[in-house]
Structures are given as C-alpha cells and as structure tokens.
Amino acid sequence: MRILEESLTLLKKSLNMTRRNFLKTTAAGSALAGLVSTKDAKAFAYEPYPRDDELTTVVTSCEHNCGSRHMLVAHKKGDVIVRLSTDDGRYQKDGFFGKDTEEEPQVRGCLRGRSYRARLYSQERLLYPMIRVGARGEGKFKRASWDEALGLIADKMMYIKYNYGPTAILDQSYAGASWAAFHKSDQISGLVARFLGIFGCRTVSWSVPSYQGTVFSSTMTYGDTMDGNEDDAFAYAKLIIMWGWNPAYTFHGGNTFYYMRLAKQRGCKFVVIDPQYTDSAATYDAWWIPVRPNTDAAMMAGMAYHIFVNNWQDQYFINRFVQGMDQGTMPIWGRGGESFKDYIMGFSDSVPKTPEWASQICGVSVADIKKLAEMYALTKPAAMKASWAPGRNAWGEQYSRMAIALQAMTGNIGKLGGSSEGIGKGWHVEGSAVPADRWSAGEYAAGIKSDRWAHCVLNYPNVKREEVGLWPKQDGSDGTIPNIRSIFWQGSNWFNQLTNINKEIAAIKKLDLVVCMDATITPSGLFADVCLPSATHFERHDVGLPWYKGHYYIHRPKVIEPMGESKTDWQIFTELAYRLGYGPVFNPKANRDYFFYNDAVDEAYLSEWWHTKVIPHHSHDGLTMPWEEFKQRGVFKFVLPRPHVAYQDNVEKGVPWSTPSGKIEILSTTLAQTPDFRKTQYGYFIPAIPKWLEPFEWLGHPKAMKYPFHMITPHPRWRTHTIFNNIPWLRETYEQEITIHTEDAKKKGIKNGDTVEAWNDRGKIVLPAYVTERCMPGVVVVHEGVWMDPDENGVDRAGNPDFLTLDEPSASGAFAYNTILVDFKKSDLEHRPGWDKLATARSHVFRRSST
C-alpha cells in the first residue's frame, strides 16, 4: 500500500500534475553547492527525481498503424511508468550501450512513441464501460458495469442477427488498438473479424484507406503485395525518387530515413515530386518538382514517352520479364491489342503522351519532365519510392500501376538499390499468434468498399452492387446488398477518418447498435451506444512486429496492470462470445474465468506461436532465439544473409511472378479478361494497362471555376492518423492548419495565423492559416486525423478535412482522400483547437451520470 502511494505521488510529479508550494529552505552554504560539490544538488525539474538505474526497466514497443515499429523502454516504479526511453543498443543479443551498426541499427522511437506515457495516463483515457443516455452523437453517457454493458450488447446482437440476417453488423475494426502478434485489431483479420465471423453476422469493409490503390496495382501487376525492398537496401541507391513520399513525417520503416541519410553521404541524388516542399525534400537536399495533385500518372506517361523515343528502356529486362509493355511482349491472346507502348506513343488513341501533353495536365515544365526521365532511365540503380499518397485519389491505382511500368521499363525491379514499389511491404516476420483455425481470418456474408457504408445504409435497399463495391460470393448469396444495422469499432476511430463525414453522421443515426472498444475516448466513441475500455499494449502481454518491413521482434510484457476497469480485447470478446454461446470456439485455450485471469492463457498462445511458427520461419537462415531468452532480452534482432530485395529471385533465378502469365503484367490478364466489372468488387471498368484518367475533381476540371483550389490531406507527423491528437506534448509543437501559398493568401487578404474557412458542396472546416512559399500555388494542405468538433450547422471547427472529401472511391477501392476541390476565405468563425479545453470538456461528459 505504501509502495502504491509512493508510486502515485511519483506519477503525479513526473506528469507534473501537482502544484509545488514552496520555496524550500536549504541548508547553510548551499548557495555555493555548485561550486564545491554536486552531490546534494537538486538539479532536476521535479523532486524527488528517480534516476533510471533506480527504476525497473522493461523493454516494450510502440504499437500503432503508422508504418514503423520502434522500441520503447519503460522505466517504472511499482505499477507506474515514470518515463520512457528507447533502444540504445543494450538490449539485443551481444548488445552494449551505444551499439548502432548499419546491419543492426537501433530502432529508436519517434515523437509519437515517445509521447506514449502521456497517452497512457491521459485525461481522455476510457476507464469504465459506458452506456449512452442521450441522443446518438450527443455525447451523454453513464458509467455501467461490465455485466450490464456486455449484456446489453449480447442481447442486441441476437436481436439484430435474428431480424436482419447475417449481413447486419458492419466490421469497422482497425489497427488503432493493436499491431501485434496476438491482440490484433487489423482491418481484415483482427479479433472482431473472428468474433463476428463465428457469430455468423458480419459485413466486412474490404478497402484499406491508406493504400488500396497499391494493393490493387501490385496484385494485378505482380500477383502479390510483397513488392518492397527492405529499408537497408535504400542505402545502395544512386538515385531515389520520392514520389509523394515524406518519410520525415511518416517514418515508414524502422530506419528507412536513416538509411537514406547514409545513401546521401555516399553520393545518392534525391528527387521529390510533391505539391509541397516537404521536410524530406529539405533533409535530402532533393530536386523539388511541384506537381498538380492527381496528375502524377500523366507526368509518368510523359516520362515513359521520353524514355521510349530515346530508346532508353531496358529492352532485355522487358522482353524477359514483362507482359504487355510493347507489341513484342503481348501475350498470344492479346496480340494486336493495346500495349502500354501503344498507349504512350498514341498508336491506339491518336494522343501521343508526349512531355508536352503531360506538361499541360500536371503543370511540370516539359524540360523538367524530360530531365527527370533521362535521370531515371540512365542512373543505375535507381529507386522510385512511389508512395501511397498520390494513389489516394479518384483513379489512384492508375498512378500506382504507371509507377510500376516505369520501374519495369528501366529494369530496376529485383535489383539492389532499385525498387518495385508498390505497396512496399518488405521482408516479413511471422505475424500471427491467433489460433490458426478456419475462423482465424473471420468469415463474412458481405463485403463492401469501406467508405461506402453510409451510402449503403442511407439508400438500402435501393442500392446497386457496383455502388458499394459488393464483394463476389460463391456460396449462393452473391449480389445480396447488406442490410447494415450495427457497427463494431475495435481500436478504430473510423467515423472520424472515412470520407464525407456529414453523410456518415446522417447514416449512423439509422443504426440499432454501435459499439466502440478503445483505450481512449474518441470522436467515434461519442457516436457509440456502448463504449468498452480496452487495455493498452502496456497492460497486456504480446509481441510487437515491424509494421511492413524490418527484421526484429520486440517483446511486450504486461508492463503495468490495466488501468481502471479496462480489459484486453481478447478478454472482452471471449466474455461476449461466452454470453453468445461460442466462448470455447472463439478462445480455445481459455475458460470463462479468462475475463479475470488472462496471463497464463496469453503466455500459452504466444509461446506456442514462437515455437511452432517463429522459430521454424527463421531456421533456414540459421536465426533463432529461445522464447525465454527473447522474453528476458526484450528484443530479437537479426541480420538477413543479404539486404532483402523484392523479386530478386524472379530476376536472378527466373522464378515466375504469381500473376496468371508468371510475368510482370503491365497488361493485366485478369483485367483484360474480365467480361463484366459490375460482377466484381470493383464495380466499374478498369483498363488493363495503366492510363491517365481524369478524376472527378482536379485543377483542370470545370468544377475548378467554382472551387479553384485543390486540397490534399497528407498524414501528419504529430499523430498516427487520429491517435495522439489529444497529447499536450505533441499539440504544443504544431497546429492543425491549412497550408496556403503566399500569393494565394495575399489575394484573399490572409496572413499567417489568420482563421480561415474552407468549403465545398460537402462541408466546411475552420482552421488557422500557414502561409508559405513551400506549397505550390493553387494547392492547399490540411493534415488528416484531427478529432472532429462540428458545430450545430455541421461546420467542423477543428479542421478535419474529411468533412470535404467525397465518399466516391476509385473502382479499385482507393479512397479519394486527395481528390478535393475547395474555396476558402478569411473567417469570423471560431476555430476550436480542442487540446487545451479537451481535458475538462471531454472528461466532464464522461463523468456525468445523468438520468
């Protein structure tokens, strides 16, 4: 008890929760203390100040869906985390303080990971089950017992399934709660998928907001999505083209940005193609080419033309490995049809995609298009990191497919220092400790494009399958439009994140049950009927995995006991499954007392996974670490025999790609042979070769007469999407703002820091202006993920750009997050930044026990 009290005092001090009420009296002579002796000096920001070596050290990791995974080291006293540090080389096998080699670099946490203690102990932490008492979205809740909350959910689930059938519950899980081996909340195969799949009532949201364009593109072109080189391979490039890529903000990969620094020191040249002069452009001293948003595919076509007319393409590579690049590589079934070169040269449509043609569309000068084409074609090896952001547009997959065409025609695929991106998933660790049975990935009765749910709900049953991107089924249920009556959010603030939020707000009012499981009270949670407090990754046992590339595993022990009444996602679902009658199927290793005692069962799943999957997975490379040693060290880092390069074996050993032809399909067999796109999940026609297609909004569109500015909505540095939006340490370093070019601002009489309203037919947002020369004229930038705070007129005072986006994804499912025309002006409306008022405002809502 005494230890607990001490710990709490320490927590308050270390978070600076208490006011100090002194000037402490000091011993005689202490004014000279510094000059004589430092022994008694109180030199710290608070006292008593525990030094790291007086605290218990626990290695763990961050956990979110950001693209990286880094080590966090908790220094705790009793059950309280006093501070976090990160990898310093000490914890790995044969490690020592400061060890940081190119082969085994430290995996140091970013600013978001370093702020985790503030999130763990935040005022917005959800600590008890809550049941809605006001209107949906009004934000009035009462505290409930677990029994009451889970009982209510179970009863309503039975009612919904019985009355509305197997499609009535929409799975909107996402990786906000967990990116790990065991406590998973991934979009497609998270725990809620398993939970609803066994229950037999689930509609899946199949398109991934961040990168569906590349998933489609790589699947069609390579036959899989494993197209990323490991981040250390970047150090071997002579030229790196960062197409819409800003690793200075997103930190993709554990050390990608650092390996690129090494590349720079070794003479690599950098190019950034982006509407903004990003921090990445500055850091890597890149040649900045500002491009009109959504016109990247046109610019790439212009580059391809210039490469073809100068005969700079790697014809040997094309002839051996590519289908449909030119007439010589057309398949028998496609002879005489349109090849990529036919399209580029204008043989098929009489429009040669010359640099002049491209320049008219993308706004980049003819000379620059030619110069970049020449650089890229003649510098070997050259990596083109064609990132996801430009693919989040109305024809996103065309950009991604065009990027692969360029990488293929220059022969950079499968080569060290080259690239084949793509989605960029690199070498993969073994990633799932979830029971490997038929339910592991969940089952579903219907699947729709993720941001078409509101359209589906508002128009049911008068919805055509292509409007929602209905996934084809072979079980006799094909074509059934889901009758969605309920949403499950697990670690997901999707309501804040999908497109066209005003339409979502209209749709959610029609539902019968909305459940939100999270560690934090989010804007989505305010629209739920029941909020369930999930334990964070500091409060349960798991293993952290690199997000999409990286060669290490990080152990995540239970660092502290779950706060408040929070329970792990596994505990919540298991108990709900017991109430619904399938507990043992859902969690085969557990009994019903798992809701109170989960440690031994979780350990059993994880150690079994380590022994039966991880160790065999790595044994062929001679890499191993016993489970007990892994737990003791906290990290298993390993050096691969060679830097991993995607498709190296295909190029060097002739291994066929997983496409129908076994080649890189610039002409897609699947697309060319699809008779009726309406019967596919895409719903609408997609050309079999990459093309530039006009999006529904862009600066060259007639709509630009009314809304003359193109808004893009990149990922911020200071949040992982919406996560960490409430962290004061982060909030004081930035503002949610609209980036405007100096001349555009001047025309509207806007100065730096002025409050601006930006609007289109979908909505309006209010936020301060950042006026700069670093953004191209005609383009404005608003970072996604800020917690919405709409007023009574539906005007978002927090500045969430998804009030302006359109829920009209591309045929492939790519979200059109960056296809937005707007206008803006100086505003008298008040911007509500939220963070300084959040502590009182939101906790007030949740402490109220009305009715």
Partner: protein, 227 residues
C-alpha cells in the same frame, strides 16, 4: 529577427569592450576540466522533434516549458525554396549570461564537465535568467511558477550514458561531446557526415561572443553567416 549580429551596423569592438568590462565587474566563470557541448546537423535533421518529446517525458514537463526546441527555418521564393532546422536546448555556455543574474545562486556551472545547472529548489521564479539568456534556454513552468532548464541529463552523464535527446535522435544528427574536439573535427560522431565541418554560429543566432555557447552546427548553405 531583424539584423543579425554579424550584419549589425553597431561598432562590434565597442560592444566587445563593454561585455568584457561587465564580465570583469560581475564574476569569473568556472573553467571546466572539459566543456561538454552539443553538435547538430541543420540539414540532415528531419525536424521530427522526437528529442523534444523525449526531453518532456524525462523531465515530466507540462505543456509550456520546452527545454529543447527544434526551430524550423524556411525561405526563398517558389519554387526555389529552402528549409532547415536549428535544434537548441541550453548551450551550457562557457560564460553563461543566466548565472550572474540569479539572485539566489540557483544556477551554477559544473567544474567537471561545464554543464550549467539549475537547482530548482533554490529558484524563486523571478525569471531574470530567462530574460538574460540570448538563446531562450531557461523555461518558466507556469504549473509551479519556477524556472527550469536542460541539465544535459546529468544523471545519464553520471551513469556513463548520453542525454535523452541525443539518444532519441532517429537520424543521429544530434550528439554531445567535448566541444573543442567537436569544433576541431576530431570527435567521432554520426552527427557529422564524412568531410563535414561545423560552425560556431549561424544566421539569426545571437552573437556567440556574448556567452560563448557550447554548441556547433553543420550549417545549411543558406544558414551560414554572410550567406
């Protein structure tokens, strides 16, 4: 940010004289056995502020005081623009301006490593040091009315490690070391790339003659004095 110290039209030699006289009249700074200082790469820094957040967490600071500040500098005209970062906490100056202003003797300079330290138990929150420092290092904490500042993580130094900010740097562009060796280019550090050299001062920074700050920068071409 008007005139830089370097382009100031005032008679520099006179100012130097005045500074010397003032120092003579006030105090003789401690000369450390070895002065530790920071080195920061202005170009290769991505500006992520992991160092800042690590510092906030270690020192348990509320919003407001920022011991370490990553400053973003940008300029030029579209499309010929540039940007770089300047990262500063306390520069642990050889002749700290804060020290003699402190009426309670809370600030002192360590003899062994030259760290300028503040004993917050002696601080009365008069904020004189805050005004005296030309680099904005002392930070007022409104939650308890005291001034606090970077102590170069003295606890970590004593444990044989480096400060949290340095160990947080994802790009390895921030480091500490004996400042004379850093300046001479003889200190092995990842903060400097092959063949790169450091400068004592950059554009728009207070004149280093004022306090002789223990910091060195790999400067951006546009950030160099006279650029």
């Amino acid at each position: 940010m008007a005139d830089t110290a370097a382009t100031n039209t005032k008679d520099l030699s006179k100012i130097k004289e005045a500074i010397k006289r003032r120092k003579r009249e006030t105090y003789t700074p401690v000369v450390p056995d070895s002065q530790l200082g920071f080195v920061h790469h202005n170009i290769d820094c991505i500006g992520c502020r992991a160092c800042e957040i690590a510092c906030k967490d270690k020192n348990g600071l509320p919003p407001g005081p920022r011991f370490r500040r990553v400053m973003y500098i940008e300029g030029g005209k579209f499309p010929e623009v540039f940007a770089y970062k300047v990262n500063m906490s306390c520069n642990h100056c050889a002749e700290p301006a804060c020290l003699p202003t402190c009426p309670t003797g809370a600030i002192w300079k360590r003899k062994d490593n030259g760290v300028v330290d503040i004993d917050s138990t002696l601080c009365i929150g008069c904020r004189r040091c805050e005004a005296a420092c030309p680099f904005g290092a002392p930070q007022f904490d409104p939650s308890d009315g005291l001034v606090k500042k970077c102590n170069m993580c003295i606890d970590e130094l004593e444990a044989g490690r480096k400060p949290y900010c340095v160990m947080a740097c994802m790009m390895r562009v921030l480091d500490i070391g004996p400042i004379d060796k850093i300046r001479a280019g003889t200190y092995e550090t990842k903060a400097m790339g092959p063949g790169e050299t450091t400068v004592r001062a950059i554009k728009n920074m207070a004149n280093p003659e004022l306090t002789n700050p223990s910091i060195a920068f790999v400067a951006h071409p546009k950030g160099k004095l006279g650029a």
